[in-house]
């Protein structure tokens, strides 16, 4: 046995977490005799692997299995460990620390490693029994006990900790709801595309996920009973876990007069503002950064040990990577994954496997990575990222990972291959995938025409032609060359029709879902595809799809038309072009009150108020609403106007009440979103003063009834309508108009007006569906009526509520900050 040096220096450590644990390993290995070590730990236990608490919670591991240093280790190395003892003060002048059980211990060197404390949102009820945080073994034990009830748990926070807690509690048999403030889960580590996949996987475990949800209060008498959200929802709860974030624990250091910002400030040697006091772990702030993961803490541990041995090395900060430890969910994220002009992204999606990978490259170096579903190459990418390795030579195959050996490119047919046999391909004739594939095989079909003749698929509106071609390609292999459909935009190879059909066939209900399942090549789309997808989803899932206002052109987002000077114009609806003195008075008052410079009669038989400031829009609308007026959608890919003439009410030639009918049609169809703008007109006789024969849908009244015309336009392209049919009653006019609009809404490509869609599929086909087939017409009409239930709420009235403030109010006003 070697003789210990006469005067061992006294090293005192506050906190016995993972960071000082690693530091001590280095110290006892490299300088075993230098210090007499004393450690205080507020937790009544040895050093354990905190990051493995989640497997303990889910029952996959026991506490014993996650202990890092057992009691024996401390004895073996001559380290004095005070378990369950909290250091309450540091006396820097006397160089001692004192504890909550009355000890006063001197130090030569002091290390602070107090970790961090969980954030608690101070809502009413936050300190009720049954409300826990997720930080240490006591929390886990309490959760396991609570879970024995098999009751309901609410986890507040959809970040790493919250989701691990939720998965663990679900594993223990509780019914779990995750309440998350942001729109996507783990938004700090994941982009929305990966967030979508994660949400799906979490929900697949029977865990309910509420995003965009703000907790208002925790309810209960002497124990937690429910969580109440801002929108009034009440979630019954026997257990509430708050996992919304952590705060570096710098209180002790601050009381001792050390420099503490967000965390305890240390230099590159891990020394605080007092040369004899060092710090490491989650409690520190180094070069402005605080860390919440172990990898950087371990790097700090190595540096701090060297400093204690008087060997100069420097810590220069860390790049971190995140993994989620929920069995069966593979997710990895590292670095900076925002886009910028000097960056490129490489995206790989495999919808069938639920894989999403995205690398962000800058100057031939990886600077960020998000991987979902297949994270095997995470470490490899991360290494390249940290090294700043030049990837120019690997670029083409980089995304396929380390083991890539000349494999295949992403498969453009994958989305269609992955469809189940009963997925409907042709909506018009109700033909599913299985039937088409069987027909191709049995009848040895080789082209679309053959499929049309045999199965009727693609024989009607033709919007599924692209899919039928892909099925031919899949079934026949190389033997078939599909005519490439024109892609929607650079983000996808699929055309509009394919996307529309696949949204229905695969039941896709959000924009991230479409982008993942149809393997979009970008992470969040572009200004071309996003508005189109938003429309397709609204038209396909009325009442279910939540409109994404950020995917709308500004006019539709604020329900007014942007003008060349950045002001807006406001056009109230004037049903059928008829107004009243009261409405006119209200319009005049609004124009005066808000200094509206131009009041103009539009070409659509109503009045336009031009030059309204954006901030004034809500107030302008409120006044117009008060007088009973609603938005005219003069800006929308939506129903615009129904122009009328005076008809039998006044005109000596009038054959029917064209004004009354126009008003009825407008009241029935307003609010409907359509692929492009939709205008209608009703003329009282063939003199056609309402110009009905250049409208998308025009009605011309005659003695014996009503002619229904479609496909007119009078803008860039002037086109006279085609006569669709003649009907006898107003009720029929309504049914035909509704059915026609619905058919157009369901089949047309975004931004195609009716005439374009009609010329593509043929007037005959429209006639077959709407005129000849009464059952189909009534079904279309029924779907139109259903979707109108969700469409006819005045957007102006909605937007004058405080929830919309942030769209209209400036965020801050700094104009007074300037010299005069």
């Amino acid at each position: 046995m070697t003789q210990a040096p006469v005067m061992k220096q006294k090293l005192v450590i506050v906190g016995n977490g993972m960071a000082p644990g690693r530091m001590l390993e280095k110290l006892v290995e490299q300088a075993p005799d230098r210090y007499a070590v004393t450690i205080f730990n507020a937790e009544p236990r040895v050093n354990y692997d905190r990051i493995m608490l989640s497997p303990v919670l889910s029952g996959e591991k026991t506490y014993e299995q996650i202990v890092i240093h057992g009691d024996g280790w401390y004895i073996e190395h001559g380290i004095t460990l005070h378990k369950g003892t909290r250091v309450t003060a540091i006396d820097r002048a006397a160089r001692t620390v004192s504890t909550d059980n009355g000890l006063t211990v001197p130090y030569d060197k002091l290390v602070i490693a107090t970790g961090s404390v969980p954030f608690i949102i101070p809502v009413p009820g936050h300190n009720l029994p049954g409300v826990l945080t997720y930080r240490d073994l006591d929390d886990v034990d309490a959760m396991i006990v609570a879970a024995k009830s098999r009751g309901q748990a609410v986890v507040i926070g959809g970040g790493l900790l919250g989701l691990e807690a939720a998965a663990g509690l679900a594993e223990q048999g509780m019914k779990v709801t995750v309440v998350h403030l942001m729109p996507t889960l783990m938004e700090r580590q994941l982009d929305p595309a990966a967030g979508y996949l994660l949400r799906k996987a979490i929900e697949d475990r029977g865990i309910r996920v509420l995003t965009g949800a703000n907790t208002k209060a925790i309810l209960g008498e002497d124990k937690v009973q429910a969580v109440e959200l801002e929108d009034g929802t009440r979630l019954p709860a026997d257990l509430v876990v708050m996992a919304i974030g952590i705060r570096p624990n710098g209180a002790l250091a601050k009381d001792a007069g050390l420099t503490v910002n967000r965390g305890i400030v240390v230099d590159d040697q891990m020394v605080t503002s007092d040369p004899d006091i060092l710090a490491l772990g989650e409690c520190v702030e180094h070069r402005g950064a605080c860390y919440g993961l172990v990898a950087p803490l371990y790097e700090m541990a190595g540096v701090l040990a060297k400093t204690l041995m008087n060997e100069p090395v420097a810590y220069s900060g860390s790049v971190t990577a995140t993994k989620l430890k929920v069995t069966g969910i593979d997710l990895f994220s590292a670095g900076d994954f925002a886009e910028a002009k000097d960056r490129e992204e490489i995206v790989l999606r495999d919808a069938a496997q639920g894989v999403y990978k995205r690398l962000v490259i800058k100057e031939n170096r990886i600077i960020g990575a998000v991987l979902y579903g297949d994270t095997e190459d995470g470490a490899w990418f991360f290494q390249k990222l940290r090294e700043g390795a030049d990837i120019a030579d690997l670029r083409d195959t980089l995304i396929f990972g380390q083991s890539f050996a000349g494999g295949t490119q992403a498969d453009p047919l994958a989305a269609v291959a992955a469809l189940p046999d009963d997925a409907e391909i042709c909506g018009c004739n109700g033909v599913c995938k299985g039937k088409i594939v069987t027909a191709i095989q049995q009848n040895k079909l080789t082209d679309v025409d053959g499929v049309r003749k045999t199965t009727k698929a693609s024989a009607s509106c033709g919007s599924c032609t692209g899919l039928v071609e892909k099925l031919l390609a899949l079934t026949l292999g190389d033997g078939f060359k599909a005519v490439e459909s024109v892609a929607m935009c650079g983000c996808t190879d699929l055309g509009h029709d394919d996307v529309r059909r696949l949204i229905v066939a695969k039941g896709l209900k959000t924009i991230p879902a479409v982008m993942q399942e149809l393997e979009w090549k970008t992470s969040c789309g572009c200004h071309k595809c996003r508005p189109a997808l938003n429309y397709y989803l609204i038209a396909t899932w009325p009442g279910e799809y939540v409109d994404d206002s950020q995917s709308r052109f500004i006019n539709e987002r604020v329900h007014a038309n942007i003008q060349k000077d950045g002001t807006y114009s406001v056009v109230p609806r004037m049903w059928g072009g008829v107004t009243t003195p009261n409405e006119l008075r209200a319009i005049a008052d609004v124009a005066d009150k808000f200094n509206i410079r131009t009041v103009k009669v539009t070409g659509g038989q109503r009045i336009d108020l031009l030059g309204v400031k954006k901030e004034d829009l809500p107030a302008v609308w409120a006044d117009l609403n008060a007088a009973g007026m609603v938005s005219g959608h003069a800006y929308g890919k939506a129903l615009r106007t129904v122009k009328t003439c005076v008809g039998t009410e006044w005109c000596r030639f009038g054959t029917q009440d064209s004004t009354g009918l126009g008003i009825k049609i407008e009241r029935f169809t307003w609010g409907s979103w359509t692929p492009a703008k939709l205008k209608m007109g009703v003329s009282g006789c063939p003199r056609n003063c309402a110009e009905a024969t250049v409208k998308d849908i025009g009605i011309v009244c005659v003695e014996s009834g009503y002619e229904i015309h479609i496909g007119g336009a009078a803008g860039l392209h002037v086109r006279q309508t085609d006569l669709l049919c003649k009907v006898a009653t107003e009720a029929e006019v309504m049914e035909y108009c509704g059915a026609l609009m619905q058919m157009y809404r369901e089949q047309a490509r975004y931004l195609d007006r009716i005439w374009k869609w009609m010329e593509r599929i043929g007037l005959d086909h429209v006639r077959t569906q709407i005129v000849d087939d009464g059952e189909r017409r009534r079904a279309l009409f029924g779907r139109f009526v259903y979707s109108q239930r969700f469409a006819q709420s005045d957007p102006w009235a909605e937007r004058t509520t405080p929830a919309f403030d942030r769209e209209f109010k400036p965020m801050a006003d700094l104009s007074m900050l300037e010299p005069a």
Partner: protein, 119 residues
Amino acid sequence: MDSTATGFEIGDWIKIGVVSDIPARGARVVKTAQGDVAVFRTADDRIYALFDRCPHKAGPLSQGIVQGQTVTCPLHNLVINLATGAAEGEDAGCANRVAVRVEDGRILMSLAAFARRAA
């Protein structure tokens, strides 16, 4: 001008709000004596600021559609890079940038751009 006289608490930077004040893939406006500044938030919560004037015909960029790291001008569809202010692709022109940074969820805007112009 002595900035403290305005009642604002400033160094070189001034707090203009918090990240969640801006919708993701959206923008809000900050009024200044030199005109509006558009503050953008991307899908992955990056914050950028540009003077709210498109280099083409002064369209209000704050009203455009935000995708990735770019915004499409609402008037004639110029695509502007948020980080550099420059128009993407074939288009020319550059919107003026204003430095912003985020600290603990708070958005701070640099006053340098205003000071220099005012001087």
